[in-house]
């Protein structure tokens, strides 16, 4: 059982898997999620690996499953998601699944195609019916009048006597032809114009009422009817209609034909409706049946693909009968690993068992931290800034308290804290509700993942709300205020005259009875009604922020000691930790000391004489200050001393480690104390590698000159690297100290903003609105 304080010990192990039972063993290992596989074939491309065929098959199945899931979702069928994930299927069962999937896909595609075709037909028939109906009404109207004069537009090219015009054309033997159809409303004008220009007025276009088609592509369409004389014009008109992508329908000559066509259309539409509804029912049935197992198959295929991907990372040994895999395994879980291998071998019925062998390694193992549902949120936040090295101290367990606490210092509101805590509790109670777990809303998912963090933040906010005495931006008077206004009157400081003459009055705590002692817990509720509330609170909160900040940063620096002790770098304690601590404490620790001293040393009687800490702090750096009254005897001397110590610690931090390592390499006196390292860092920053090089150089008598040259160059490179790293670290640390201390002032800024906005939103805005209504 690992602890959260430090990452776990991880070792490299070699697995020897029988070819027959490799699949099952890796399936077992996958279910347990114990180990990390190393890729033993890094130079092989993914198309040349051994199990590429199986992976292709898995991907094909995934494609079909994706299509099925999309169809199921489109039909809004609920997917029953099982509680327990199914295990990966055996290779021999895969063919069955594959076959079923392919069958389902073919069926679905066919049904969808048919459905689309039927719908297209339906649209056509409905349009045709409408065209017939509309033109029928027009023709009827026309035949009542017994003239074929145009209803819509006059064409000036026609003869004046339109009646004789008709008979004259008939005498010419030209036939009156009709074309009817649908055209989008937008194109009607252009269509008309083109027709008139091309046919020189020998056609009549009648565009009738609009027809809006309900459906996926609903356009405003207009029914039109073109009447023309002669065949050639007819062909021209036909071509123009095709240009404009109109839906043309044959116009029936006589009324009986029209009625027949309409009847047949009506019956056909009826049939189509029936067929369509049956098709949809069938589709739904198919999808319902598929939805039962689709989810299981999806998970199974995913697991299978992962297993083959892992198998691709293993290498075959010489006899080609056994797979070798290299894994990083936590030392504590080696027994579980053996158990999993045994289980896998037993399941596949292999005669020769697979076994595991621990091997030594020079590479840095990966960092493993086991978290549960409570700590995983905090660990994720910490890892967003970077993952620690192997066996380094993990800052996450401390974050569990400091992160919500610092949030609460900024949020500091009892009422809102309770709302936050209640929201988090609601999420916690519905933790295992599958509907909540499967929610697809991004924002809600983020909040749900951090439900424990939010709970902690809410509880801490309740506490800081009590301290700030702020509940929805109003104070609670639980214990009775320590200030008394009556005492100002009874001591004859104020009279009714004073009240009338002055707008603002200040209570004087030096008058007896006015201030009876500090409020037991938190800030006195009278401050909520005072006009100089912010003056007081700003000073208090700013100082509190700096104090919290310096404590937090010092704690962080001290955590580094555990690393130095663990990796047995005693020089780190003296050359890195001590200068860092001295720099931080001599400057900002002294500031904190001055703040606390001023709080303790000056009471309300001497409050007029209390000096400004800021002025003193600035003068400390400028090394002036004779003009100011000192806070305490010996202040000048102490400040100069602290300043000197702080400034001296910077070069020690900068040059200490590189010089020490260089001297160590040159001198080589106390090597013995540095054996037995656990950690070896991959790559160049190696104090240890330097040690070992030293060892081999002194220990081994046979070293040819070229080897020495190479080693010397490598060592020189390492020294440069150490020096540059040291410079970067020093600059970052010193600047970081100053800038981070200042940025802790956000604790003050945000709590101020929260109070003001809350007051505005909850009390001032409603009051203003109601006053505006009254006046």
């Amino acid at each position: 059982m690992g602890s959260l304080f430090r990452s776990e010990e991880v070792c490299l192990a070699q697995l020897f898997l029988q070819s027959g039972s490799a699949y099952d063993c890796i399936s077992e290992l996958g279910e347990l999620a114990l180990v990390e596989f190393r890729d033993l074939n890094p130079n092989v491309s993914s198309f040349q690996r051994k199990f590429v065929g199986e992976i292709k098959r898995c991907e094909e199945m995934e494609r079909i499953l994706g299509y099925l899931l999309r169809e199921i979702r489109k039909a809004s069928i609920a997917l029953p998601e099982a509680e327990v994930s199914p295990a990966a299927p055996q290779p021999r069962n895969v063919l069955e699944i594959m076959e079923q999937l392919q069958r389902l896909e073919v069926e679905l595609r066919e049904v969808n195609r048919n459905k689309e075709e039927l719908q297209r037909n339906l649209v056509e028939f409905t349009e045709y019916t409408h065209v017939l109906r509309v033109t029928h009404s027009f023709v009827q109207r026309n035949s009542e009048r017994e003239s074929l004069g145009p209803q819509y537009e006059e064409f000036p090219c026609l003869e004046k006597d339109s009646v004789t015009g008709y008979t004259s054309m008939q005498r010419l033997g030209a036939k009156l032809g009709f074309i009817s159809g649908l055209i989008p409303r937008m194109k009607v004008e252009a269509f008309e114009r083109l027709l008139w220009r091309v046919c020189k007025g020998y056609t009549i276009l009648i565009s009738l009422c609009a027809y809006c088609m309900q459906g996926e592509n609903s356009m405003d369409t207009v029914v039109f009817l073109i009447s023309f004389w002669g065949d050639q014009i007819g062909q021209k008109v036909q071509k123009i209609c095709e240009c404009y992508h109109c839906h043309l329908y044959p116009h029936p000559e006589t009324d009986e034909e029209r009625c027949d066509v309409m009847e047949s259309l009506a019956t056909r539409i009826q049939d189509l409706h029936t067929v369509l509804s049956r098709t949809e029912d069938y589709l739904r049935q198919v999808l319902n049946k598929a939805s039962e197992s689709v989810f299981t198959w999806a998970i199974q295929v995913q697991k299978m693909k992962a297993i083959y991907h892992t198998l691709n990372m293993c290498s075959f040994d010489v006899t080609n009968k056994c797979l070798i895999a290299e894994v990083w395994c936590p030392v504590d879980s080696l027994a579980a690993l053996r158990g999993a291998l045994e289980e896998g071998s037993r399941r596949s019925g292999a005669t020769v068992p697979s076994f595991v062998n621990r091997i030594p390694s020079h590479d840095t193992p990966p960092t493993l931290l086991r978290t549960n549902k409570f700590t995983s949120g905090f660990q994720n936040i910490v890892e967003a800034y970077g993952v620690g090295c192997y066996r380094e101290v993990n800052p996450a367990p401390f974050t569990i308290i400091t992160f919500p606490f610092l949030f609460a210092v900024m949020f500091g509101d009892l009422g809102h804290g309770m709302v936050l805590a209640l929201f988090a509790l609601w999420m916690l109670f519905h933790e295992n509700n599958p509907r909540v777990k499967r929610s697809r809303n991004e924002i809600f998912r983020i909040l749900f993942e951090g439900r424990y963090i939010i709970l902690m933040m809410g509880i801490f906010s309740v506490y800081t709300g009590l301290i700030y005495n702020d509940c929805f931006s109003k104070s609670l008077n639980i214990f009775g205020s320590g200030w008394s206004v009556r005492a100002m009157f009874s001591q004859d400081q104020w009279t009714n005259e004073t009240l009338r003459a002055n707008v603002l009055l200040t209570l004087d705590p030096n008058v007896s009875g006015v201030f009876s002692g500090p409020y037991p817990l938190g800030i006195d509720p009278i401050w909520n009604m005072a006009s100089n509330r912010l003056t007081f609170l700003n000073s208090y909160k700013m100082k509190m922020s700096v104090i919290l900040g310096v404590i937090h940063m010092t704690f962080g620096v001290i955590l580094g000691v555990f690393n130095y002790l663990h990796f047995r770098q005693r020089f780190g304690l003296y050359l890195l930790f001590l200068p860092e601590l001295l720099f931080l404490l001599c400057l900002f620790g002294y500031l904190v000391f001055m703040v606390v001293y001023k709080w303790l040393a000056f009471s309300s009687r001497h409050s007029a004489l209390a000096p400004s800490i800021l002025v003193h702090f600035i003068n400390m750096f400028l090394m002036q200050g004779e003009a100011l009254e000192s806070l305490y005897p010996g202040q000048m001397g102490l400040q100069v001393f602290l300043l000197v110590v702080a400034f001296l610690s910077v070069p020690v931090l900068l040059l200490g480690k590189p010089l020490y390592l260089y001297w160590l390499h040159q001198g080589g006196k106390s090597l013995g104390a540095y054996r037995g390292y656990e950690r070896v860092r991959r790559g160049s920053e190696d104090d240890v590698a330097v040690m070992r090089d030293n060892d081999t150089e002194d220990g081994g008598g046979l070293s040819d000159p070229t080897n020495r040259e190479i080693q010397k160059r490598v060592r020189h490179h390492r020294h440069c690297h150490t020096a540059v790293t040291s410079v970067i670290h020093t600059i970052e640390y010193c600047l970081g100290c100053i800038s981070n201390t200042a940025s802790y002032l956000r604790l003050w800024a945000l709590s101020l903003a929260h109070g003001l906005v809350c007051n505005l939103f909850l009390f001032i805005t409603p009051k203003t609105l109601s006053h505006n209504e009254i006046h």
Binding site: S76, F472, K474, S475, N477, P525, N528, M529, F763, K767
Partner: protein, 101 residues
């Protein structure tokens, strides 16, 4: 009963949330006004003469406090009514959605 439904699902949910907040906040405010808490003095509509009238015990101010408190309780009751209405609407919406399927 043609259709008692006049708001959609989201409006109904909004109404429920705001009603719950309104009920809790106004009920608490009413309690605090009845307890004559000093912090809420700015919200009590008193005039100059009210201050002049009372010599030793501020009875007029207390009476005003109680009045504002009762106003808050009435507002809370209205919110309860609105909350119930929204809840009914939300249930009807869910019923319709189920029937449509």
């Amino acid at each position: 009963m043609a259709s008692l439904l006049f708001c959609g699902p989201k409006l109904a949910a909004c109404g429920i949330v705001i009603s719950i907040w309104g009920v809790i906040m106004l009920a608490l405010l009413g309690i605090f006004f009845n307890v004559h808490s000093g912090v809420l003095i700015e919200d009590v509509p008193f005039t100059e003469e009210d201050i002049q009238k009372d010599s030793s015990s501020p009875q007029a101010i207390y009476a005003l406090y109680d009045q504002v408190g009762y106003n808050c309780y009435i507002a809370a009751a209205i919110y309860v009514f609105i909350g119930l209405l929204s809840f009914c609407q939300a249930r009807l919406n869910k019923h319709n959605e189920y029937m449509e399927r």
